[in-house]
Amino acid sequence: MTVQVFKIPDSFKKDVKFSFCPGCDHGVAVRLVAEVLDELKIREKTILAASIGCSVTLYDFLNVDSIEAPHGRALAEATGVKRARPDKFVFTYQGDGDFASIGLAESLHAALRGENVSAICINNTTYGMTGGQLGPTTLLGQVTTTSPTGRNLEYYGYPIKIAEHVALCDGTAYSARVSLDSVANIRKAKQAIKKAFEVQLQGLGFGFVEILSTCPTNWKMTPSKAHERVRDEMMKTFVPGVYKDVTSDGLTRRMR
């Protein structure tokens, strides 16, 4: 007997076509989100707060209600949506610049308040849409269009470890960092996204996943070389793992 083991998730719009560059892992992350929405059967109660950057296009692909937030403000808007309509499932999908640079205050305060929302942050160590400038997650030594001789400590300072910062917030129910460099890790990433969504559905607080992703265009690498870079360089600084999980830590939070 033949069984279908892979299909285009139902939570996508009909005839969906991504506008990402060839080999960009955004496409994988977006698909995982859609698969999780399908599996949890929550498409019809979902409201997305979209962000600015390559991540903005998510609302063109997912067949869910969406509000577009100004750069960095997705979690403030998600807070507004969730406070107005606590029965809805509310999530953001942001880049590292959006989440951790211009929007760091909004992001961490949403986590600190324990907002019952979920957030996905794509970390590709650069500002992709604007052409590959130095961002908050650019690795030490990394060459970008605004760090032409590489990010050196004296001149540019350190990159931010997002998942660890989010985990430090008392309102966070789940914080994990995953990678899309291999099929095995893609499968783990999906489980993390699912968990970050589930903690919201259970009313446990802020759910967060940082996804190590590629930007082959601005890194000037082939897609498969880009995955090697994720493994050899990014994962050394940005170590994958679950940094907080109240469902397994025995920690409890009041239900909202």
Binding site: K13, R43, E44, K45, T46, I47, A49, A50, V56, Y59, D60, L62, N63, V64, D65, S66, I67, E68, A69, P70, R73, A76, E77, A78, T79, G80, V81, K82, R83, A84, R85, K88, F89, A105, E106, H109, R113
Partner: protein
């Protein structure tokens, strides 16, 4: 504090509390805010009341976040608001530009203080431009209502919620530190406007339908052209339907005194002093600053000899008056840069110098 909120009896109430109670009576479901003098009492009042009523209150991390939270709540069709003052309203301009483009019914209470920069906490009308000319990037306007009494703080807060939802356009109540801090007897009647059906656009989760997108991103130039033409068509409709002003003694006036907000109270008295002295003065007060009552001012310009704008700033509304009368009559300015409005006698003295 307000003790009797929905009675027909008059209660002595501070402007900021009156605005907050009116918002609650208007059905405001969510308040997001950050403290700033001279309007902090609004947030203080809301924090207790909203919790009591099982509605949403969030102490936002910044005004910037507060306005974005309002956008989020409004995108679901909820009645939501924030309140702030001058330098902090500056922080909200990015979000207000988005909210206008998203056509969301945002309500913002702006209680003006001295500027530019940190300025001071004295009353001021220095944010007339900020309120009426857009404020953020792109072509747009907020609907702007300017109360002159604490009673009007109540009535126009009701109206702000109604107009915001009727036209799906951010609406600002533009008060100042004087109105926010003064106490007057007011009557809280029930919210007098019909509820607006938002089921055609509000985000509710795409149950049994395709997803909706509320966004301002228009990657193609043509889309943006179509949108802006539509937006400005809406402004013309608002101008036709909602322009509001007060005028006294303008029919036979040689000079018309024009003023908005708290300043207009002393100007009204100054007009009476003029009449006692035999100067045929009239009084004109725009209640809506956008839409501005330009057409009426243009009509009046054909009947009078001079117009004088009285403002507590360096002269901002005077520009709109001059545009409205288009050179038909000279328009002069009596102003004070910041602080309590000039006394009626002071205004009278300056009028005598000008005519």
């Amino acid at each position: 504090m307000v003790t009797e909120t929905l009675s027909n009896k008059k209660v002595l109430t501070k402007g900021n509390y009156a605005i907050a109670q009116a918002a609650i009576n208007a059905g405001c479901e969510c308040y997001f805010g950050y403290p700033i003098t001279p309007q902090s009492e609004i947030g203080e009042f809301m924090s207790g009341k909203m919790q009591e009523l099982n509605r949403a209150y969030v102490s936002a991390e910044s005004e910037l976040a507060a306005m974005n939270m309002v956008i989020g709540a409004c995108s679901t069709g909820a009645k939501a608001m924030t309140s702030s003052s001058s330098c902090a309203v500056s922080l909200m301009q990015e979000a207000l530009s988005y909210a206008t483009s998203d056509e969301l019914p945002v309500v913002l209470i702006s209680v003006m203080r001295g500027g530019p920069g940190l300025g001071n906490i004295y009353p001021s009308q220095g944010d007339y431009f900020q309120a009426t000319k857009g404020g953020g990037n792109g072509d747009y306007h907020l609907i702007v209502l300017a109360p002159s009494t604490v009673q009007e703080c109540v009535d126009l807060t009701y109206k702000a919620f109604y107009l915001a939802h009727k036209y799906r356009n951010p609406t600002m109540l533009l008060a100042d530190g004087l109105l926010g801090q003064m106490m007057e007897p007011v009557e809280f009647k029930e919210y007098p406007y019909p509820e607006i059906d938002n089921s055609s656009w509000a985000l509710t989760g795409a149950k049994g339908r395709d997803g909706r997108i509320i966004r301002s991103y228009a990657p193609l130039a043509d889309n943006q052209c179509v949108f802006l033409e539509k937006l400005f068509e809406k402004y013309r409709t608002i101008e036709k339907n909602e322009t509001e002003w007060e005028e006294i003694g303008t029919e036979d006036a040689d000079v018309i005194l024009i003023s908005f907000g708290s300043t207009s109270r002393n100007v009204k008295t100054a007009m009476k002093l003029c009449r006692e002295k035999g100067i045929k003065a009239g009084f004109f007060r725009p209640v809506t600053l956008f839409p501005f009552p330009s057409a009426r001012l243009n009509e009046l310009a054909s009947k009078t000899k001079k117009m004088i704008s009285v403002e507590v700033n360096m002269g901002q509304m005077i520009n709109d008056i001059r545009l409205a009368v288009n050179g038909k009559v000279p328009v002069e300015l009596i102003h004070k840069p910041v602080g309590a409005p000039p006394a009626p006698e002071e205004i009278l003295e300056k009028i005598e110098e000008l005519i």
